[in-house]
């Protein structure tokens, strides 16, 4: 079984830092918020100050509080959707890859259909028919998002499973007489851990985008706070055109930061899965200290400067 050991590159560490920060914010954000995000107790459209770090909305709500409280809903939906979608893609992808034959044809077709339908318009159609009570429920929204986001992972996992299907350890499990589901989920799945992790990161990334977008066009309850509804209210009140940057820029930056963190982590997983992506052998610092060119050149193997030799060994004259 492979364990997932991420390379300790600056990229991966930065990604871990960012994602860790926002996960902590998800837990503690609402407690840290100085005000009730919906309370309209203050003057409208105050600029950033020591009282209101990010100013207030046109209704006099504290924007910083909205940002902190909104982190939870945004991240919870993204995580729920990401986990459910990854679970779906795992079950469908591994089954298709391992069972083969008609089950494979059917399941592959299903995922190809879901890949070909543009996700967001489908989401909008489904969501627009939802009763308002369901729209404000993070779990319902998360589930619907996961429905449109599992297909890519399933396709990748299917391909990976097919490459594992005939390995010795799978054969051995078959001979022992383990059941098919046991082979798929206790023998094969652990070996797909890096792919599963990468697929989880991607679906979480997709889910944040999808959720924020739904909220931005007003398809989630506008009464629950998340980063998308903040943008929705900012847009509805023409904040971008009135230069009220402190209203709409912070949620956007937060979304982008979470996304960047996830993508940076994924670089590490990519390098784990595909060794060619790892920087080969010599670091830039080592190269410099050896007097080698800064970057490796294909077809120009570097030559170390000759050092004085004391004795010649292993010499043939002919």
């Amino acid at each position: 079984m492979k364990t997932l050991q991420l390379p300790r590159s600056p990229k991966v560490l930065l990604g871990l830092g960012i994602v860790g920060f926002f996960i902590i914010l998800t837990v503690v954000g609402p407690w840290l918020a100085p005000d009730n995000p919906s309370s309209t107790a203050y003057a409208a459209l105050l600029g950033p100050s020591t009282h209101h770090w990010l100013g207030t909305t046109s209704l006099g709500q504290d924007i910083f509080s909205q940002l902190l409280v909104g982190a939870r809903a945004t991240m919870v939906v993204a995580l729920v959707a990401g986990l459910v979608a990854t679970l779906l893609s795992m079950v469908i992808g591994i089954s298709a890859g391992y069972l083969g034959g008609v089950s494979d044809d059917g399941l592959s077709l299903l995922s190809n259909v879901f890949l070909a339908i543009p996700g967001l318009p489908l989401l909008i159609v489904i969501d627009s028919y939802l009763p308002v009570t369901s729209r404000s429920n993070e779990f319902v929204i998360g589930l619907i998002i996961s429905l449109t986001g599992w297909a890519w992972g399933a396709r990748v996992l299917r391909a990976q499973t097919m490459s594992l299907r005939n390995r010795d350890f799978v054969e051995a499990a078959r001979i022992i007489g383990e059941s098919r589901s046991r082979i798929m989920f206790t023998e094969i799945a652990p070996n797909l851990l890096p792919v599963l992790a990468s697929s989880l990161l991607f679906t979480v990334l997709y889910s944040i985008g999808a959720y924020v977008t739904l909220a931005y066009i007003g398809l989630t309850s506008t009464a629950t706070w998340n980063w998308g509804t903040m943008l929705y209210w900012a847009q509805a009140n023409n904040a971008p055109l009135s230069n009220e940057w402190y209203w709409f820029v912070p949620p956007g930056i937060c979304i982008a930061l979470v996304g960047t963190g996830l993508a940076l982590l994924n670089f590490g997983i990519d390098e784990f899965i595909n060794p060619r992506l790892r920087a080969g052998g010599l670091s830039a610092r080592q190269r410099r200290s050896l007097g080698l060119p800064r970057r490796p050149r294909l077809g120009l193997t570097p030559v170390l400067a000759p050092r004085p030799r004391t004795a010649r060994r292993n010499v043939v004259s002919s």
Partner: protein, 387 residues
């Protein structure tokens, strides 16, 4: 022999060549001279010494066989010699000189130091003087191009004067040399069989009439019959065009068929060097003996296959003594303490790195390592006589 050389596009653009010094007399005899050549993977603590202080020469128009298990450093050595080794490979010492003969006057030879050459100089000698055939032709040919374009590209790069039609004719001619129909030029690599692809690679390697062709296990991926055919063809082509060859393989019995001289590599060093006939009939190093016993000969008397117990050493760990000692059936105390140098033995010019053959001999040399051998009398090279 040069009369039979194909003579199309022989003019080579020599502007900017580096005739740094007039070649020494020996340079005319050897196409490649390698001395004290070492290669590392990585540096510092994680360094792996893949090739260590290798010295060898390749005589013009002969075949040098390089044999050894995987991990013995044989492929690393030739990739590094041609400066094609990928990172983290680093050449850590030694010299490799390619003696390039001019096309107008084969007697005039210009040495090119491959270890100091610039990218431009390397580009000039690559393919027109040294070409390469890799183990897997399928991965060595660009999957999205027709075979014809591979030939066209090489000729267009190195023979600027040739017209499109001349290039096409030359490509057809080359395919005919390896027994392929001209219509193969319009095929994609995946449309050919494994044997056909490898023949294409050989034809491509000969496109510019090079002096040295490096073959990295070119027949390993093929079935035995095709393997046999290709070896025969190579011997014929070599006899006809007079190029030198470095032939890398783990199959020593195959080398005996083709090579004039063989070096056996183990753990990054040469452990034995001899003419093909000598090495086959009378091995001197225990490792060579082991290699010979792990493959059936293509023909000739049957032998019991025993193989070599154990596995090659971890090159990341610096060891004392002979690197083969842990697997050697004849290990002595000295083997664990001192590294044997590659030293000449006897009068035939062969060398071996083994304390068993030190003079004065410490112990009686085992019978398997002291067989007598006399060169067959005749005009042909030893490698060719054995067939």
């Amino acid at each position: 022999m040069s009369a039979s050389r194909i003579d199309v596009g022989n003019r080579l653009d020599r502007r900017g060549a580096s005739p740094s010094r007039e070649a020494t007399p020996s340079a005319r005899d050897f196409v490649l001279e390698v001395s004290d050549f070492s290669v590392h993977y990585g540096v510092d603590a994680n360094m792996v010494r893949a090739v260590h202080d290798v010295t060898l020469n390749v005589r013009r128009a002969t075949v040098l066989g390089v044999a050894g298990e995987s991990g013995s450093g044989k492929s690393t050595l030739v990739y590094a010699l041609t400066r094609l080794l990928r990172p983290p490979g680093v050449i850590s010492g030694g010299r490799a000189i390619l003696n390039v003969s001019s096309d107008d006057d084969p007697a005039r030879v210009t040495p090119v130091n491959l270890t100091t050459a610039s990218e431009r100089e390397l580009r000039r000698v690559r393919w027109s003087h040294v070409s390469i055939v890799l183990q897997s032709a399928l991965s060595a040919l660009n999957p999205v191009r027709r075979i014809g374009r591979e030939f066209d590209e090489v000729l267009r790069t190195h023979r600027r004067a040739m017209s499109r039609r001349e290039r096409r004719r030359r490509a057809e001619e080359l395919l005919a040399l390896v027994g392929l129909e001209p219509d193969r030029l319009n095929r994609f690599p995946h449309e050919l069989s494994g044997g056909q692809r490898q023949r294409v690679m050989i034809a491509l390697a000969l496109a510019l009439d090079p002096e040295l062709v490096v073959m990295d296990e070119p027949t390993t991926a093929l079935d035995v019959v095709t393997q046999r055919e290709i070896i025969t063809e190579l011997a014929e082509l070599r006899a006809r065009f007079g190029f030198a060859m470095i032939f890398i393989t783990h199959d020593l019995s195959l080398l005996v068929e083709l090579a004039d001289e063989i070096v056996v590599m183990y753990a990054g060093t040469i452990v034995e060097r001899a003419s093909a006939g000598e090495l086959y009939a009378a091995p001197r190093h225990p490792y060579t003996l082991g290699l010979l016993e792990s493959f059936p000969p293509l023909h000739g008397e049957r032998r019991e296959l025993t193989g070599i117990a154990g596995s090659p050493p971890d090159l990341a760990v610096e060891s004392v003594g002979c690197s083969f000692a842990p697997r050697c059936p004849f290990t002595m105390d000295r083997c664990r303490a001192e590294t044997p140098p590659l030293a000449p033995i006897g009068e035939t010019g062969r060398s071996v790195a083994c304390w068993l053959h030190a003079t004065p001999s410490p112990v009686p040399v085992p019978a398997a390592l002291s067989r007598r051998w006399t060169a067959p009398v005749g005009p042909t090279a030893p490698g060719v006589t054995s067939r």
